[in-house]
């Protein structure tokens, strides 16, 4: 009893150092242990809370592992068809320009089936934020080759490793988007260390500010891990990501506004 009383005495507002953000719901995340999605959701939720965006935000969730994203953040959501989120977001923002509109998409969604929607929304300079989770694999369907799967990387549809001669090369969609006149701020980040989480959060905050200023499309790629799809422990997957993904998808800004 003495111990319990002790904990109760410690739980006081002045001792609070970390808590669930109010924007995250009570629903249990459907992600595998060690997956980057949960961290990405959390910082997105933190930004929405800190910037007071709950009543303005309209999110568009994708098809893929984060298909149920609308269960986790306490804002209005639209669930888009596979790859179509940038088209959906285009209409929302055009019809409700005062709202904060964003999409959250994986690599299959954004860089394979949704290539046209991604490129054209960015090329029109739609005033939306796109968060692009790149883990080089189709996680939801069980680990198939993605447009961003690295050369030689094994997946259930490239069981002998991705042979670029027959399966094509990994697509650097973020690099392509950075070349488009309509994109305003394009950056590649990660969420696998506290320092990187801070950088990604800063990038999202910038994108929020640019949208308020009507600057055009902001795309934030988050290079992430997929312990289950890569068949690694979370720690191994983060190390593998640093050693293999980052050389191909180097972190940093690809397009920054002149301010």
């Amino acid at each position: 009893m003495a111990v319990v009383t002790g904990i109760k005495e410690i739980i006081k507002p002045e001792n609070l150092v970390y808590k669930k953000t109010n924007i995250m719901t009570e629903n249990i995340l459907s992600y595998c242990p060690g997956c980057g999605h949960g961290t990405a959701h959390r910082i997105l939720a933190e930004i929405i809370e800190e910037e007071g965006l709950q009543s303005e935000a309209i999110g568009v969730s994708p098809v893929g592992c984060s298909v149920l994203l609308y269960n986790y953040l306490d804002i209005d959501w639209q669930e888009a068809a596979h790859g179509r989120a940038p088209a959906v977001a285009t209409a929302i923002k055009r019809l409700m320009p005062e709202k904060f509109v964003f999409t959250y998409q994986g690599d299959g969604d954004l860089a394979a089936i949704g290539t046209a929607e991604t490129i054209h929304a960015c090329n029109r300079g739609e005033n939306i934020m796109i968060i692009f989770i790149n883990n080089g694999i189709y996680g939801m369907t069980g680990g198939q080759m993605a447009p961003t799967t690295l050369p030689g990387m094994k997946s259930s549809t490239s069981p002998y490793g991705r042979d670029v001669k027959t399966m094509g090369n990994p697509l650097k969609m973020t690099d392509i988007v950075a070349t488009l006149p309509g994109s305003y701020y394009v950056t590649r980040q990660s969420v696998h260390t506290p320092a990187n989480v801070k950088k990604t959060k800063k990038a999202i905050r910038k994108a929020v500010r640019y949208q308020k200023l009507d600057k055009g499309t902001c795309l934030i790629e988050i290079v992430s891990n997929c312990p289950s799809g890569w068949k690694m422990t979370p720690v191994q997957s983060n190390k593998w990501m640093e050693e293999n993904m980052f050389p191909y998808y180097p972190l940093g800004d690809l397009k920054t506004p002149v301010e």
């Binding site: 209005d76 959501w77 179509r84 209409a91 409700m96 054209h120």
Partner: protein, 356 residues
């Protein structure tokens, strides 16, 4: 307020009627024979007057997903296309039906399959009335037979779409879309400021978050949703059947035809009657819901029916189901973009029913 009289193409009438109906957004992609719709809207530039958004998308797929996004905000949004483009939109249409969103999709039908022809046809009847995309769903389908109806059905479509939270298709064809007729245009309506409690407009503290989705991973939940849709479609069948009858009082034979074919068949009725054949015409205005009850009643009074469509025979299946074996039913129609002539219809009627 007095209606304004203009001479317009069907496609132009849809575009002008959309502006006047207070539509919030049009998202389209060019395809013959309906491109005048987006051309007219771009020229009219309603962003400057009503604030209506007009956007040329990168594909029909993007356009229908823009409609999804706008409709989910509770906005009056629409798209238009012609047959091959409507096929591309089917993914978006089934998501819209699955998310129970209101919108208008105009199909100015051309001949198919495949790239087909750019000439008028009615060969998208199955696609329009039986679902079109995957899953169990129906669109409300309105079939205009004149430029006037292409204009009038814009308002009616949105009325029905919002009443039932269901996508509405205006199933026109290349003849009505392209031909010019006089049309009385309704006065300009203001764009609606209604904020729907189901729409994604940003979550205020006063309500739970709104989620627009067609996904339910729980089979029990999904089946309940399917049952809810069935109940809605039955309500639509009960309340929204629309049709027009022409000289059926003493008719011994009945033509069933919609859109351009119905116009042709009016003349066929006249020609047949000049030869002493008592012919009438029923024109379905709603193809879903189909006027099955009325056709079944008429089957008690006539000796036979001929379904006239510019297709290989699609609506005839619904006529057969409605008649349920009471009298013989045949199909007649030209294809490939050829408009049936009134004389051909009478010849077919005579050969099927009268002999000779």
């Amino acid at each position: 307020m007095k209606k304004e009289l203009r001479l317009m193409k069907g496609n132009e009438a849809v575009a002008e009627a959309a502006i006047r109906a207070g539509v919030d957004g049009y998202f389209g992609y060019p395809i013959t024979p309906q491109t005048e719709i987006i051309e007219y809207l771009m020229e009219a530039n309603p962003a400057e007057t009503t604030g209506m958004i007009v956007l040329q998308a990168e594909s029909e797929i993007a356009a229908i997903n823009m409609v999804y996004g706008g409709a989910a905000c509770g906005k009056k949004v629409m798209t238009s296309s012609s047959s091959p483009g409507i096929s591309l939109k089917q993914e978006g249409i089934t998501y819209i039906a699955g998310a129970e969103l209101p919108c208008l999709i105009v199909n100015v039908v051309r001949g198919g399959p495949g790239l087909g022809t750019i000439q008028p046809a009615q060969s998208d009847y199955f696609q329009a009335t039986k679902g079109g995309g995957h899953g169990d769903y129906h669109l409300i389908v309105l079939a205009p037979a004149s430029v006037q109806e292409m204009a009038d059905f814009v308002d009616l479509s949105f009325e029905l779409a919002f009443k039932y939270r269901n996508p509405v298709m205006m199933l026109s064809d290349g003849a009505i879309g392209q031909m010019m007729e006089k049309v009385y245009l309704s006065p300009q309506k203001e764009r609606s400021k209604t904020i729907y409690d189901w729409a994604t407009t940003g979550k205020p503290a006063t309500r739970e978050r709104n989620i627009i989705t067609s996904l339910d991973l729980d089979p029990n939940g999904q089946e309940l949703f399917n049952l809810k849709l069935i109940a809605k479609y039955n309500l639509i069948r009960e309340n929204e059947v629309r049709y027009e009858e022409f000289q059926i009082e003493d008719a011994e034979y009945l033509l069933v035809a919609y859109g351009t074919s119905a116009r042709v068949c009016q003349k066929s009725v006249q020609l047949a009657r000049e030869e002493g054949i008592k012919l009438g015409l029923l024109r379905p205005i709603t193809l879903f819901p189909f006027p099955s009850k009325r056709i079944n009643e008429l089957a008690n009074r006539v000796k036979g029916m001929l379904s006239v469509e510019m297709s290989a025979g699609q609506m005839v299946e619904d006529v057969l189901l409605s008649v349920n074996g009471k009298v013989p039913v045949f199909h007649f129609g030209r294809m490939g973009g050829i408009v049936t002539t009134p004389e051909e219809v009478v010849e077919c009627l005579k050969s099927k029913f009268i002999g000779g």
